[in-house]
Symmetry: C2
Subunit: 373 residues, 2 copies
């Protein structure tokens, strides 16, 4: 139908060749009107709302790539409803995965993507872009269970080493043993002191948790302490909550964490790359290949491309490969990802214990030494 | 460690026998401190916070059931953080699923479960419990794309047939073609008119979408129109948002929808049954076996048991088998689930088109005729 804007969603469906046309139609219906089409008598609904099978491709491995056009109008546009229309009910089919979604300009404009983007992250920590660009670095405060002062001491030592971003472990929430507000005050104090000594501009990114209201209060407390970068797990927070914060606090940079995102049978480049970026992630953490998790190099490159490649007018989002990384992989990772990346080493630095500052400084130096000529 | 309250989480891990002890330990670490344990020198963290492997059982199919004790203190208690600690990072391992979680009394008390429970649902629609108990019925307003008045006419005809609960299709949000507030006014008007004519007590459950703030506004508008039952998809809304609403509007009954929940590699009885109930679902919709989705009869029974079986002081949550059900399955479903159930037929009734009221009435009569002697 001319004039109807659609998202082209691609599903991978395990099926045999005789059944695939029927399956494809069923998915198109499931993800739109969710009822027998022959029972619909509204002409506009039939023409504009019912999902439309646009292409079926045999992938030659017992599965098919099915492209379905889903009406933009059904998504609101609202972040939860976007996810609902893309994969709500079909997520329950264990032979269907959501592989890709081509987002039309209205969707990009409605959500707007990263407010800071990679350039904004560079500006925060003073890492040059363009000629002489270097990758950025990140580490994490762990283990949970430590109190605010102990975490603040770790942060001070990492900052002393010059790390660009120090994020809370995603397990740090607002627990009794480390209340958010107290932790933020203690950590920012130590990071600021280290910055004064070193002249560096290390940023602390505390982890948000709870409801929209609780997160708002956390952001206000963090901002009062000088924080301008935050960590959030969109699939735990809820995508609507995440995006509401991006709109309400557009001066903040948001680092997205993939917790629970791996549980989805949505292709990681789409969910962790494109969709988190669409909703406003300035950087997105994902498990690098060869670490504790099983993503392949190809998947990792696709995530990086989805995060920072061209996507209409949206700013690029920094890929943050992580999950068991160590210093000896810095060169290889920079070769692989280039300089528009944030390298995250958490436990691998903390394992240095008494040598934490030196280890952090060595990590920072190594990354800087790979600056683009 | 005596005195430390733990959640016993059971993961199913594909691994070979030589590797499983190491894998089990790695999961216990991933879901707690997420860093090399040898780099932790805080005795309390080691004793009380680090996850503890409690049992490893060979399932004989190339996988192992690994029970891990996770400290309750790490969860907040906060709904998102509970999910995060149960499965946040491990969701990214495609050879790990979360199978079960034994929730200690503090967790049950902290979240509190259904506020109405099955008895509260029965009271709403006037379906007797105890001796003479009958199952409840539900249908859905579809297709999305119709305007408020067209949906209201459908609702009026379903109500005329005496259906207990009429829910919005989970695809109905706050779209331009059917704004929430307008839809609720139109549908409640028609349902109330039908109730006056029939003497029945059909309830309309509109579907919530958007942020916590948007959902609050939706609930206020719905309550003003006489609504006392709501539909929400916790995995799309975010579990924290869902639970915040349960606390703020404890007089409402909440019908949980499984959209996006099937995407998780969390066993459905745990997520859709136990966890949704824990957070306050009074009824939980799931795909019945033999419909459009692939859950087995055994999985469906386990979901029903998790939803309504004994769980500390928590009220039972009504199982709502759905997903392509038809009238000819009523007897079989009631034999299978008993009378503490809500039978949901959506498209299967709507397909009757001009005979919708008669079809709804026949569905209602059939269910009532199976009342417990």
């Amino acid at each position: 139908m001319r004039g109807v804007s659609r998202i082209a969603a691609t599903y991978r469906i395990r099926a045999d060749a005789r059944a695939i046309a029927e399956r494809a139609k069923a998915i198109a219906v499931e993800q739109s009107v969710e009822m027998p089409v022959q029972a619909i008598d509204d002409a506009r609904v039939l023409a504009e709302i019912v999902g439309r099978v646009e292409d079926i491709q045999d992938l030659g491995d017992g599965s098919f790539a099915v492209r379905v056009g889903l009406a933009v109008a059904t998504t609101g546009p609202e972040p939860g409803q976007l996810l609902n229309m893309l994969f709500g009910n079909s997520s329950i089919h264990d032979d269907v995965t959501l592989e890709d979604a081509a987002l039309p300009p209205e969707i990009l404009a409605a959500f707007g993507g990263p407010r800071q983007g990679i350039a904004g992250l560079r500006a925060r920590c003073g890492a040059p872009g363009g000629t002489g660009a270097r990758a950025m670095t990140c580490s994490a405060l762990k283990p949970q269970g430590l109190g605010p002062e102990a975490l603040a001491r770790l942060a001070g030592r990492l900052a002393e080493g010059g790390i660009d971003f120090i994020k809370d472990d995603h397990g740090l929430a607002d627990q009794a043993y480390s209340p958010f507000a107290e932790r933020v005050r203690a950590v920012t104090r130590e990071v600021a002191a280290a910055n004064r000594r070193t002249g560096a501009r290390t940023r602390y990114a505390p982890s948000l948790s709870g409801t929209l209201d609780q997160m708002r209060a956390q952001i206000r407390a963090a901002r009062a302490a000088g924080v301008d970068t935050l960590l959030i797990a969109p699939m735990i927070a809820g995508v609507a909550t995440f995006h509401a914060l991006v709109r309400e606090f557009p001066d903040m940079a948001y680092l997205a964490h993939p917790a629970l995102a791996g549980a989805s049978r949505i292709a990681p480049p789409l969910l962790i790359g494109t969709l988190f970026r669409l909703l406003g992630a300035d950087a997105t953490v994902f498990p690098n290949h060869g670490g504790r998790f099983g993503y392949s190099p190809a998947t990792c490159l696709k995530i990086a491309e989805a995060a920072r490649g061209a996507l209409g007018p949206l700013k690029p989002c920094a890929p943050v490969p992580a999950g068991g990384m160590t210093r000896d992989r810095v060169g290889e990772m920079l070769d692989f990802y280039g300089s528009d990346v944030v390298l995250l080493i958490g436990g691998g630095l903390l394992a240095a214990r008494d040598e934490l500052t030196q280890e952090a400084a060595a990590f920072q130096r190594e990354v800087a030494s790979f600056a683009r000529a």
